[in-house]
């Protein structure tokens, strides 16, 4: 039994009050009377009857109070009733129609589970009577109501049912139940029922905590759309593409995970790899019963860029999970050379200790960075041209030949990042390209008076993704930094500024190359910057910025039905998303104005979604490959095993407890009234007889 308002049960203490009032000795009125002897004899003659009557009155009062209190606490009896809960009162029915991917499974008759489910949902709709209300809630993630509320116009619901189609989404029973609960709560009708029409696929109930906020008085029925044994099904659960070697060869490994959801092993399951619209590899693998197997393909791309592909296996009952799409961006990794002015391998006192760890840390969807650290002497003999960026970490001075090669490196549209060591740096040899002339070192007199960051140029590409949020540099404390005299002739800009207006990070563009100068150390000698949260994005984004590859990103992945945020640049005039079916979603300038992100909800179909944008200064749309993303199906939907074999009659396991609740408070209210009437009759009976005889 469940109670909608269990706190109302506190009213049962009134039973105690009734008992006290009934049984407590009452002195009350005392009347002297001569014929007490006769009165006593009369009373004694009636004692058994009076006692019985008094007991009945007391019992009636107690039962009336108990029934009344129970009624207002709105109890419901938890019942299982295959035919549902129905009485003469008007009913609001919420039909939860499973339109998840698993409902696309096809039986031997060529009909999908969704077709059967829809037919049964229509049959449920036919059972309703005029005055009843109904609503349709497809349960594919995210669950959404077709209409905002339950409709009395059942014909409209019938049309909604006819228009419903199975999707590629995963099941969202929790969300569907929340919606149903909300709609039931908003409905004024006395009887409430939720009917779930589903294929009873096990994956729908997996790891789900039924969020039924208030089941009191709500009937719940599960109707299985399919019967018999679940069909044989295998699925491509995962495709992982990773570069091989140092990334220079454009060779990738495609790792395919195939899962067998059947009780029997699959032998020689054929797997095909297709890239850029052409089959490039085919193989077979054995997949154990209720298990997975991995197939790896190697492929070398002829050129860098964005490549789209898919992996496909033999067809079965659920064809939609036999294909998995992917997009791979073929670019070699970012090569960073770190010239260490105080090279102490393995020690945290090493000048590049923190820098190396920050550069080596992989970040999602970003092209990896491959840093290499050398001392000054080694750098002098090494070729510099194969690198994208050079970091000078704590280099006090460099030989002039090396300096000349670095200057040439920068002038070849590469990047250079300079940071001093604990003895400072003059790098006078690089005076022609650095953003200013290093004059001296400025140190705080006391630790408490350390310098702090004052302003960050948020329009700079390094910091633009942060928008107006925190950059992680706000609490950085700097004990010493270089004093740099500005060079009026140089094209120089300050990116990060200390309090007092002195620069912490500045850049200078030299013939297409970029030189950045950090006026404090990259280790903890002069600052606590390396242990600040802004350190990693600072050095990683600085490296990508200096290499001109800040926009290089791996495509993101998202499940069908889930939203994805697309970055909006300042001044973006149009943003277009092209889905795999060549459907376009266009965000106009008016929608994009003032936004840094735009949420895209139309991930209804698995595949690659390409993004175009119209930027200021460009005539038309330009494809933004770094914003491309892949929409995938949920592997859980591929498991077609059911929680029950009998249609709707046995919902064991995870469904246990999801049963109908029969409201009994109207009956309790009726009982309360009947008890009160009986009590009134008992009292009035004696009075009436007395009045008649007077």
């Amino acid at each position: 039994m469940t109670f909608e308002s269990p706190w109302m049960l506190l009213g049962l203490v009134a039973v105690g009050a009734v008992l006290w009032l009934h049984l407590a000795p009452r002195r009350g009125l005392v009347i002297p009377f001569p014929a007490v002897g006769m009165l006593r004899r009369v009373a004694l003659r009636r004692v058994p009857r009076l006692k019985l009557r008094s007991l009945l009155i007391l019992l009636s009062r107690i039962l009336a109070i108990v029934a009344l209190v129970l009624a207002v606490s709105r109890p419901g009896l938890t019942v299982r009733r295959p035919g549902g809960i129905r009485s003469g009162m008007a009913l609001v029915q919420i039909i939860l129609l499973d339109d998840s991917l698993s409902m696309r499974q096809m039986d031997s008759d060529g009909r999908t589970a969704f077709d059967r489910a829809r037919k049964k949902a229509v049959a449920e709709l036919d059972r309703l009577r005029p005055g009843d209300a109904c609503a349709l809630v497809p349960t594919g993630a995210p669950a959404r109501a077709v209409r905002g509320e339950a409709l009395f116009d059942l014909e409209s619901v019938r049309q909604d049912l006819s228009a419903a189609r199975p999707g590629y989404r995963s099941g969202d029973m929790a969300g569907a139940l929340r919606l149903a609960a909300k709609m039931l709560e908003d409905s004024p009708l006395p009887q409430r029922e939720v009917v779930l029409v589903t294929d009873l696929a096990d994956g729908m109930w997996r790891d789900m905590d039924l969020p039924w906020p208030d089941r009191t008085g709500v009937g719940f029925r599960v109707i299985g759309a399919v019967s018999g044994q679940p069909p044989v099904n295998a699925s491509v659960d995962r495709v992982k593409v990773q570069p091989l070697g140092d990334g220079v060869t454009r060779e990738v490994e495609v790792e395919v995970v195939v899962t067998n959801h059947d009780d029997e092993a699959m032998v020689g399951k054929e797997v095909m790899l297709e890239l850029d619209g052409q089959e490039v590899a085919r193989g077979s693998l054995d997949v154990p019963a209720d298990g997975s197997a991995v197939k790896r393909f190697h492929h070398r791309f002829s050129e860098e860029g964005v490549h789209r592909g898919l992996v496909w296996i033999d067809g079965d009952a659920l064809a939609e999970d036999n294909i998995r799409y992917f997009t791979v961006v073929v670019r070699r990794a970012l090569i960073v050379l770190v010239i260490n002015g105080d090279y102490r391998p393995g020690s945290y006192r090493d000048e590049a200790f923190y820098l190396m760890r920050a550069l080596e840390t992989p970040t999602p969807y970003d092209i990896p960075i491959k840093p290499m650290v050398v001392d000054v002497a080694t750098a002098g003999a090494a070729p510099l041209g194969g690198n994208d960026v050079i970091f000078l970490a704590g280099v006090e001075s460099i030989p002039q030949p090396l300096a000349n090669r670095i200057i040439d490196f920068v002038r070849s549209k590469k990047g250079l990042f300079i940071a001093p060591g604990n003895r400072g740096t003059s790098v006078a040899e690089l005076a022609s390209i650095i953003p200013g002339r290093v004059r001296s070192v400025r140190s705080a007199r006391r630790s408490a008076r350390a310098f702090s960051v004052d302003a960050v140029n948020r329009s700079h590409p390094i910091f633009s993704p942060f928008g107006d949020g925190l950059t992680g540099l706000e609490k950085t404390r700097i004990h010493s930094h270089l004093l740099v005299d500005p060079d009026p002739a140089a094209e120089r800009s300050v990116v990060v500024q200390l309090k007092g207006g002195l620069p912490l990070l500045m850049e200078r563009k030299v013939d297409g190359g970029i030189v950045m100068l950090l006026t404090t150390t990259l280790d903890r000698d002069w600052t606590d910057l390396p242990i600040r949260p802004g350190y990693l994005p600072l050095v990683q984004r600085a490296a990508r910025y200096l290499a001109g590859r800040l926009g290089d990103r791996e495509p993101r992945r998202v499940s069908v039905g889930r939203s994805i945020d697309l970055e909006v640049s300042v001044g973006m005039r149009r943003l277009v998303v092209l889905d795999p079916g060549d459907g376009k979603t266009v965000f106009a300038a008016k929608e994009l104005a003032g936004r840094s992100r735009m949420r895209f909800m139309g991930t209804t179909t698995p595949g690659s979604y390409r993004v175009w944008a119209q930027m200021p200064g460009f005539g038309g749309l330009k494809e933004l490959s770094d914003m491309e993303f892949v929409v995938e199906t949920d592997p859980a939907e591929s498991d077609l095993a059911r929680v029950a074999t009998e249609e709707g009659s046995d919902v064991a396991g995870p469904l246990e407890g999801v049963v109908g609740v029969l409201p009994i408070w109207p009956y309790l209210l009726l009982f309360a009234v009947l008890f009160l009437l009986f009590e009134t009759w008992l009292i009035g009976h004696g009075l009436r007889r007395s009045h008649v005889s007077r």
Binding site: I31, F33, P34, V36, G37, L39, V42
Partner: protein, 308 residues
């Protein structure tokens, strides 16, 4: 002085006395009296009024032989005289504590009502030259006034009647009072008892029957408050006995019908008992005028006497 006290204390309402002054009390049987009066006796005997001659029979008192008739007729005649008798009346008043009950609809307590009744009767009887005595009774013996026919005796009787108060302790002492009445009434007397009969049990019935069987003319004024008959109470209450017999908590609505039936049963029982013992039972409800009760009693006695 007596009249003033009656007005001031009210035991004998002058209006009642006026009403009762016309009351003719007829006794059913002639009671021997020490003095002649207006009550003709069916018994012949010593008297100044000659009635008739009758032939002498053996066993007749030879003192009553008419010697002159013997001389004239040579036959023995007995001179028969119509003997005039004086009525001896003993008024018994129940002074138990239950007699203090008044109820909601009566203007006086049962004891006050009984005082009026008995006072009126005493007044009339004394005015007729009958001897009247007073025997109040309760659980403990109370002083009594022996019957006396002297007019100057009436104030004392009234004074005594007016001074009676309900007893504080429980019980009525019915049987003892009846025995005392039998002792003080003499051979034949009119005994009038005013009581509520609440404490009267089987022993009382036997004692009263015994009293009547001795030739006494016994009359019971059954004095009740109307509340004791109707039991008109509405709210549940504890009804506390007035004679130390405890209390009982009842819902009047629940027992009213049975109570009324029990009161009727009690009345029927006493009518049967008094009928069998040739006693009179007069219902005296305290909401009725005492003169009406006495008038009713007198007319009934008159009819009964004529029938005899």
């Amino acid at each position: 002085m007596i009249e003033r006290r009656e007005r001031s204390r009210g035991p004998v309402d002058p209006g009642v006395l006026e009403a009762v002054s016309t009351l003719v009390i007829e006794v059913r049987r002639v009671v021997e009296g020490l003095q002649g009066g207006g009550h003709a006796s069916l018994h012949q005997g010593a008297s100044v009024e000659f009635a008739e001659h009758k032939k002498y029979c053996p066993g007749d008192d030879i003192r009553h032989i008419d010697w002159r008739a013997l001389a004239r007729t040579d036959r023995y005649f007995i001179k028969a005289h119509e003997r005039e008798v004086t009525l001896r009346c003993l008024l018994m008043l129940d002074c138990s504590s239950s007699m203090a009950y008044q109820g909601s609809r009566a203007t006086r307590s049962k004891l006050d009502y009984a005082r009026v009744l008995l006072g009126a009767m005493a007044h009339v009887l004394v005015r007729q030259g009958d001897a009247v005595g007073l025997l109040p009774f309760a659980s403990s013996p109370l002083p009594h006034l022996p019957p006396d026919r002297k007019p100057e005796y009436l104030p004392a009787l009234m004074n005594r009647l007016a001074s009676l108060r309900p007893a504080q302790d429980g019980g009525t002492g019915f049987v003892e009072a009846i025995h005392r009445a039998a002792d003080h009434a003499g051979r034949r007397a009119m005994i009038v008892m005013a009581t509520d009969l609440w404490d009267a049990d089987r022993d009382v019935e036997v004692a009263l029957a015994s009293l009547a069987s001795r030739g006494h003319d016994v009359t019971l004024f059954h004095v009740l408050s109307p509340d004791e008959i109707d039991f008109p109470f509405d709210t549940t209450a504890t009804f506390e006995g007035m004679e130390g017999d405890g209390g009982v908590q009842v819902d009047p609505a629940l027992v009213r019908e049975d109570y009324r039936r029990a009161v009727i049963d009690m009345d029927l029982r006493w009518r049967r008992v008094t009928g069998e013992a040739q006693m009179d039972l007069v219902s005296a409800t305290t909401d009725k005028p005492p003169e009406a009760v006495l008038a009713n009693f007198a007319s009934r006695r008159h009819r009964t006497t004529r029938r005899l």
